[in-house]
């Protein structure tokens, strides 16, 4: 008997998809703006509750949770497999989406087409949760496409602006090339490993036995293992990681980001920078650490794959360092407030990639904690910048001068977010950067910490530029009638600012109870991930 909570967890993405597609139909009947807004907020609230249930369940009851669609066992049907790692990221996605949906009510109140906006927003949440929760590499492709297509649409939401359309087109072309390349990788994976289930692939990279044949035929039906499978694995890993690095905007695949993120409405920029790039990071981590066991290369059955995985890790460190440095240098040169913040996203993704490339426990903790901290702080930064833009109506830092003096709450939250991303203690960004430094020093690569310092100091002066621009500078023109926006905007800002401080102050507890278990689930306990899925297969076969 399956625990009913499993249904709730497994059905989170499908429920969200259904909610998304019901909205246009319902808005044909109820032609009210208020209805679309209430519907959007309640749908994201439902998704947030479901992700919270999943988080609670995997942390306190049982991990991982495997949900089989239509009760078809793993290699035949699609499974969703939630462990502590994706359960945690799912919770972050749910909460940030809820806050953004609330914020959007006020931010877009003068725009038409709000029902389409919320349709795409909920659709993107469904896609993201699908990418996170899925236990099937092909389903990951589908959900990645759902996320990406809704994202292209939302970037082009201001359809009367030239730069939005241009950015959306560029983003769409680059993004669809990436997903196509990932599709080729899927073909190679299926050709090499004869399965698309993540747990089974993870098992096959560990042992020469095919679990499925092993179950039905005892020890009679071993598959003939050829070493050339390793070559297929290498090709698949190369193509898939390239595709994910486009989604995650790691150098040299980051070009689309500084165009796409500023062109979208500010709440969407918050989601794109805070969460969407993290989906790419999640996929990289899942492929490298769960499917190809990068943290413990000794369990890999094939020595050929060991070289491949190690080379990939080095490449991640080098590319992450380059991302951080290049984004840092270009960040200071920007005079568009949102473009500057978008470059900072590339920099922080560089840090996360460096943490992932280290393949030590500390490095992974740093990467995962930084993923969450950056999601919170960057969402806050974009939403606060959006509040300035909403009130004044321009994105140019020079034209915003002195506005911050009249908007104290927005300015305070903006400064908290900026200090958190620069990494000042006791904010959350400091804790994860600290872990990253220690991971480098512990591995004996202390000179590389200079890269983090240099890029952080670039980031510091870039943020000081905004703080100077919006808060400290003398107002150039008379500012009349400018004040903090309504609580619909400021309450999400204050919640996120509180989260920034809380994730910093409570970090000893959070690291111990939340981050470390998720690292263990991601990288150090492959048998657990595999056996939960394959147990269902055994039961289905009556074994």
């Amino acid at each position: 008997m399956v625990d009913p909570v499993h249904h709730l967890i497994g059905l989170t993405p499908p429920i969200t998809v259904a909610l998304a597609f019901a909205l246009p139909l319902l808005s044909l009947i109820v032609k009210s703006r208020r209805f679309a807004e209430v519907y959007g907020v309640s749908a994201t609230a439902i998704a947030a509750i479901l992700t919270a249930i999943a988080f609670y369940y995997v942390y306190l009851v049982k991990s991982p949770v495997v949900y089989t669609f239509g009760a078809w066992p793993p290699p035949v049907g699609i499974v969703y497999e939630v462990d502590k790692f994706n359960g945690l990221l799912g919770l972050v996605v749910g909460v940030v989406f809820l806050l953004v949906a609330v914020y959007s009510i006020e931010y877009l109140k003068h725009r038409s087409g709000i029902e389409w906006y919320y349709t795409l927003l909920i659709g993107m949440e469904a896609g993201m949760l699908g990418v996170l929760y899925t236990g099937d590499v092909f389903n990951l492709f589908v959900m990645l496409e759902v996320t990406s297509v809704t994202a292209y649409g939302l970037v082009a939401f201001y359809r009367s602006r030239k730069e939005s359309i241009e950015a959306a087109l560029k983003y769409a072309i680059v993004g669809s090339v990436a997903t196509t390349i990932y599709f080729i990788a899927l073909a190679i994976i299926y050709g090499s490993y004869a399965t698309l289930n993540m747990a089974q692939i993870a098992f096959k990279t560990m042992s020469k036995v095919d679990y499925f044949f092993y179950l039905i035929g005892g020890d009679r039906l071993w598959i003939t293992y050829t070493p050339m499978i390793a070559v297929g694995g290498a090709a698949a890993l190369a193509l898939a990681l390239w595709a994910f690095s486009v989604k995650a905007a790691i150098f040299p695949n980051h070009f689309w980001l500084p165009d796409a993120h500023p062109a979208a409405p500010s709440p969407i920029s918050a989601i794109l920078s805070g969460l969407l790039v993290k989906v790419g990071v999640y996929a990289i981590a899942r492929f490298l650490y769960t499917l190809f066991h990068a943290a413990q290369p000794e369990v890999l059955v094939d020595s050929a794959l060991k070289y491949v995985v190690e080379a990939t890790l080095y490449a991640l460190i080098v590319l992450g360092a380059l991302s951080a440095l290049i984004a840092g240098i270009l960040m200071v040169a920007q005079s568009d407030i949102k473009r500057l913040i978008a470059y900072s996203t590339i920099m922080h993704i560089g840090y996360i990639a460096m943490g992932l490339g280290l393949a030590t426990k500390l490095g992974l903790e740093a990467a995962i904690y930084h993923t969450i901290n950056h999601a919170v702080a960057k969402a806050l930064l974009f939403l606060a910048a959006g509040a300035f833009i909403h009130v004044v109506g321009t994105r140019n830092i020079d034209e915003l001068s002195g506005v911050g003096r009249l908007m104290p709450i927005t300015t305070l939250t903006f400064i908290i977010a900026a200090f958190s991303l620069v990494g000042l203690p006791p904010f959350n960004g400091f804790v994860s950067k600290y872990l990253l430094y220690m991971a480098f020093i512990e591995k004996g690569w202390a000179p590389l910490t200079a890269i983090i310092v240099i890029s952080s100091s670039f980031a510091l002066i870039a943020y000081v530029k905004i703080i100077y621009g919006v808060w400290l500078k003398a107002p150039v023109k008379e500012l009349k009638g400018i004040k903090d926006p309504s609580p619909i905007i400021t309450i999400p800002l204050l919640i996120l600012a509180f989260a920034c401080v809380f994730l910093g102050i409570a970090s000893p507890y959070i690291l111990d109870k939340v981050i470390t278990p998720s690292v263990v689930d991601l990288a150090y306990n492959p048998l657990n991930y595999v056996s939960e899925a394959l147990k269902i297969l055994t039961q289905a076969l009556g074994g």
Binding site: L424, M438, I441, A446, T449, I454, S457, L460, I461, V464
Partner: protein, 329 residues
């Protein structure tokens, strides 16, 4: 138990190495370097207040503190003091991680925490410069930020050198400012370890000079050129706090170098008279060195300074940290 914790925090914050200790040290240090700086320039220096002018720094501070507080119509009124107080607080917090504190706060891997605490004063100075909008403050502050980009990585790498070296000898807690300061003295007898230590000492003293805007890196506040750089608009109590922060920075960073590189009171212990005397002598040597460089050099241009740091200091610190990670101990 809780009482003990509270007591340790209060002692750290207000007695040693807190406000009382820092006030006395800052006062004497300022007198010392003003005196020797004057001698190097063929002047006499502070003279009238107290024996040999020893009370002059206090008199200056009090005079500034009780002067009129002028804030221009475009400037911020109280935020500069908040930032300056936080910066002084961060430096005292840094001192309470050193063995000089009776209740030192330390843990494994706390070195990055110490380095990030030293980031507060530059941030305070940058925001301070921008809080009083003026063409001179803008030029000065932007120069200071440019210097920081090259000076921060050097600062980090050179501080890491003794910490990495002492940790490799196997002491616990690892990568801690406290344990590194307690054990660095034994490294000076190892000829292989001396090389990275000397290279790091060279680069940290130049980074010190750069962080504190002392000549030849006084480009941000270049007196004859842009009035007083970031501090152009400040007078009265705010200027008093600025000089306080500047002197506290000199004291804290000199103490940091003395402990982390020269081993503090080694070869004696801190509880003996000889130990305290050794500590004071080493401290005065560092202050003297800094003042000497300040007195005997001329100001560089900003791009000269950046190129100098990138060409002649950053590579040295990188070589030092690479040596520190690979040499056999």
């Amino acid at each position: 138990m809780v009482l003990n914790e509270v007591l340790s925090i209060i002692v750290n914050a207000f007695v040693i190495p807190g406000l009382i200790f820092i006030a006395i040290t800052t006062w004497l240090t300022q007198w010392f370097y003003r005196k020797i700086y004057a001698r190097m320039q063929n002047r006499i220096g502070p003279r009238f207040i107290g024996p040999r002018g020893i009370l002059q720094p206090i008199a200056d501070f009090l005079k500034l503190l009780f002067k009129e507080d002028i804030t221009t119509i475009v400037a911020r009124e109280k935020e500069p003091i908040i930032m300056l107080s936080l910066a002084v607080g961060s430096l005292i917090a840094l001192l309470s991680m050193l063995p000089i504190s009776p209740y030192p706060l330390y843990a494994e891997n706390d070195i990055i925490l110490a380095i990030y605490l030293t980031l507060w004063p530059p941030i305070a100075l940058i925001l301070l410069g921008f809080m009083a909008p003026n063409p001179f403050t803008a030029i000065g502050t932007s120069r200071y930020m440019t210097l920081l980009i090259v000076c921060e990585p050097i600062w980090l790498l050179s501080i890491l050198v003794p910490v990495v070296l002492t940790t490799r000898t196997g002491i616990a807690p690892a990568y801690s400012l406290f344990s590194a300061s307690m054990n660095v003295a034994s490294l000076w007898s190892n000829p292989l370890a001396v090389i990275p230590l000397i290279l790091a000492l060279y680069s940290i003293i130049l980074a010190f000079q750069c962080k504190l805007m002392l000549r030849p890196f006084d480009i941000p506040e270049a007196e004859t050129e842009i009035v007083a750089g970031p501090f152009t608009e400040y007078s009265g109590p705010k200027l008093a706090f600025i000089t306080l922060l500047h002197d506290v920075e000199i004291v804290v960073y000199s103490l940091l170098i003395v402990w982390l590189f020269l081993g503090g009171p080694a070869p004696f212990t801190l509880t003996s008279i000889q130990g305290i005397l050794t500590l004071i002598v080493k401290y005065l040597v560092i202050v003297f060195l800094v003042t000497w460089i300040k007195a005997s050099t001329a100001r560089l241009r900003i791009e000269q300074a950046v190129v100098f740091m990138i060409k002649y200091v950053l590579p040295v610190s990188i070589i030092a940290i690479i040596l520190a990670t690979i040499i056999p101990i």
